[in-house]
Amino acid sequence: MTVVAAEETGTAGGPDRIRHLEQRLQQLQGEFERTLEEQRRQIEALRSELERLRAGAGSAEPAGQGAGPAAGSGQAPRDSAGTPAVRSAPPAMSSVSPWRLGRAGAYVDVGLVGTFAAGTSTADDIEGGLQPGGHDPNQRGFTVQGVELNLTGSVDPYFSGSANLLYSLDASGESRFELEEAWLQTLQLPAGLQVRAGQFYAPFGRINGRHPHQWGFVDSPLVIARLLGPDGLRNPGAQLSWMMPTTFYSELFLAVQDSQGDGAAPFRAGGHVHGGEEAGALPMGFRPLENDRGVSALNDLMWTLRYALSWDVTDQQTVLVGLSAALGPNASGAGGAPATQIYGLDLYWKWRSPRAHAGFPFVSFQAEALLRRYELGAFDWTEHAEHGEPFLADAASGTPAALPAETVTDYGFYTELLYGFRRGWVAGMRFDYVAGGEGDYEKGPWTFAGEPVGRDLLRRERWRITPNLTWYPSEYSKLRLQYNYDRRADVGEDHSVWLQVELSLGAHAAHQF
């Protein structure tokens, strides 16, 4: 058996056999082409027949006109002439015959993106402290940042649809599932209008609408994770957008969404936000964020307004600028109707080589600045003290604190520069800064559960410098090495190194700008 096989492979590799196979291939190809040409000739005959009849029916042209082109070019080898047969009339739009955009074969494009990180840090409070983002690396060792299933396609002639289901593990190994997005969007409203409904990211700034695997860095910018919350702003709701009839790109977005839950941390989310402070620790504002007063009016929902405009500076350079605002109630304190206002400015600039190959080389610059006004409701810790729970107390007298209402301001920005210096390689540099104006509530000498309390660390100044290097072996995989130098006021400095690896299966990921 082995001998025969060896002999066969021996002959199979011989030059005679190769020549024979090549001849056979050529012969088959020739036959195939002849059949094809025959069919094309038939199609062409039908076409000219049709044209002649059409011309005849039109009566304007004499009968000879139709025969003209076919006969006139007679000396050329009419070896083939094809046409997309006779196209049937455009199908009437029907909601029972679903159709799809782009690729054929299935009604829905299915893709899966898995993002994993490995690394270490000098900090002891990695999850939620050092790394405030909900999908940041969360411990020394390995992190499942997210395994995201994406389904997208056309629902019917009127709507496109998209769903992102995200699985991850927290630092303790607990599985988490998130309905990241699931929405439908109109395809053909007039006057540049578009409506989106379902669960979706609020149109605030630039990074908020992007999934973690689309970011240029391993982790979320500090200002985004702190001011918008670990998971960003996303909730069930509806959005209207209007592309204005200007010569440049100019679009207005208005979204109204629920104001509670993980997807609305600065609003009615309560103190138990994913990746947030540890249980038993002092919440932001030194008061529980549990004053969820429900929804009784339109302004109890989260409203987001965004205006974006973009223009091409040159053939190779594009600029996109956006202004955003998010407004809604918050759940701080126990009295009044405190509200949160967040304002943002975002800027994106990109240059791409006129000879870009697979998108390289390129240089991009992205920056976002945010300002948040947070109304803290009045809160009295007496009740907690009476129930034997940990409470905030005056350091001198030991009596439970009664915090009056006040408004605090947080702000910050990040800038990031990405340089795709050769095909598949990107070097990145990011600078993060976030701070908060000192609130009156931070001034008193307090103790909490017996321990002295300093400034509110969830609003304290910190900054971070992050260089990284990313390698894309192909469009569908990614390896990223990142170093973070953190400096937190009242905490100190920390060093972290993270290695990220990503896989992408299934449908081609949509390119975004």
């Binding site: 690729r103 053909q188 469009e475 949509a510």
Partner: protein, 313 residues
């Protein structure tokens, strides 16, 4: 009161006039420059063409700039290859542009690959084979016979969208085809002496060209479509090129010319700068026929140039 109605009437009339003049021309967006050129040939003065991808850049990866959304939202027709080349960036643009006239299945959405027999349709999809297009190799316009199919298709579509211009579109299409028929024998003649000759290319963009002109372009610097060349693969390519005395390496403007130069230096072959898009390299003008002229000429010159290469040590 009367002056006011008069003023309003005038305004409405002026607006109609403005609308009328802008309506007169068909607004067409073409994804790539080869399609843009065919649209110009068929549409002539009756269409305004805007091309999205630059002729020098990789059409697989085009930034979906917001300005493209604006163009698409106002287009009467979208002319695209339809064979997956532009899918990654065109699909999201179409979904956001919200223009019923150019959505798939609308008359203004022209999938140019319809009626073209696509080569290299994969039997099974496996990304271990690189970035293979599920519908087949999308570089079909490198066979001028396929341009014939596309031109018919464009004329039909434009005639339907703009019935007043139907005769013009048909006449332009016939003029193009007559010119194509005039040049084709010359192209075939020019490359006939090299029938069966083997060429190398950076990327597998040339199966249609090779088939039409009887060449064999089946050695690629990329180990697999979309995968950058590796040293081991290049060594293999160099060995095969030496064994088969391959004399030319086809490289497109956006591909890494240095890799090709390195291989050329080792094998004595010549690097031939080619493009699939009018305007992609100098002397390709902005017309499809000029581009084919250039391609045939530069390949023929490369194959004719000098004696048989002798493999260098």
């Amino acid at each position: 009161m009367r002056w006011r109605t008069g003023f309003l009437g005038g305004l409405v009339a002026a607006l109609c006039l403005v609308a009328g003049t802008t309506e007169a021309r068909l607004r067409v967006v073409a994804t790539t420059a080869d399609l843009g050129s065919l649209v110009r040939s068929v549409g002539g003065d009756r269409v305004d063409v805007l091309t999205l991808a630059r002729p020098t850049e990789d059409p697989h990866f085009v930034d979906p700039r917001p300005s493209y959304l604006v163009r698409l939202s106002r287009a009467d027709a979208l002319v695209h290859g339809g064979a997956g080349l532009e899918a990654a960036w065109l699909t999201p643009l179409l979904q956001r542009a919200g223009n019923a006239r150019i959505l798939p299945a609308a008359r203004g959405n022209v999938r140019c690959c319809e009626g073209v027999t696509l080569l290299e349709v994969p039997e099974r999809l496996d990304r271990a084979q690189g970035d293979v297009h599920p519908q087949g190799n999308p570089h079909y316009l490198m066979d001028p016979e396929n341009a014939r199919v596309v031109v018919h298709h464009l004329a039909d579509t434009f005639a339907e969208l703009d019935p007043d211009g139907a005769e013009v579109y048909r006449r332009n299409a016939r003029a193009f085809l007559t010119e194509l028929d005039r040049r084709l024998p010359g192209w075939l003649e020019r490359l006939r002496p090299y029938a069966g000759t083997r060429l190398a290319a950076y990327h597998n963009s040339w199966p249609y060209f090779a088939r039409r002109f009887g060449l064999r372009i089946d050695l690629f610097l990329e180990p697999k479509p979309g995968i950058p060349p590796s040293a081991a693969h290049l060594a293999q390519v160099i060995a095969e090129m030496k064994a088969d005395r391959v004399r030319a390496i086809l490289v497109e403007p956006y591909q890494d010319r240095r890799v090709a130069e390195r291989v050329a230096a080792e094998t004595g072959a010549k690097v031939v700068l080619v493009t699939q898009y009018p305007g992609g390299v100098k002397d390709t003008g902005d017309s499809y026929l000029e581009l084919m002229d250039y391609l045939v000429r530069s390949v023929a010159e490369a194959l004719a140039a000098g004696p048989e290469p002798t493999p260098q040590p």
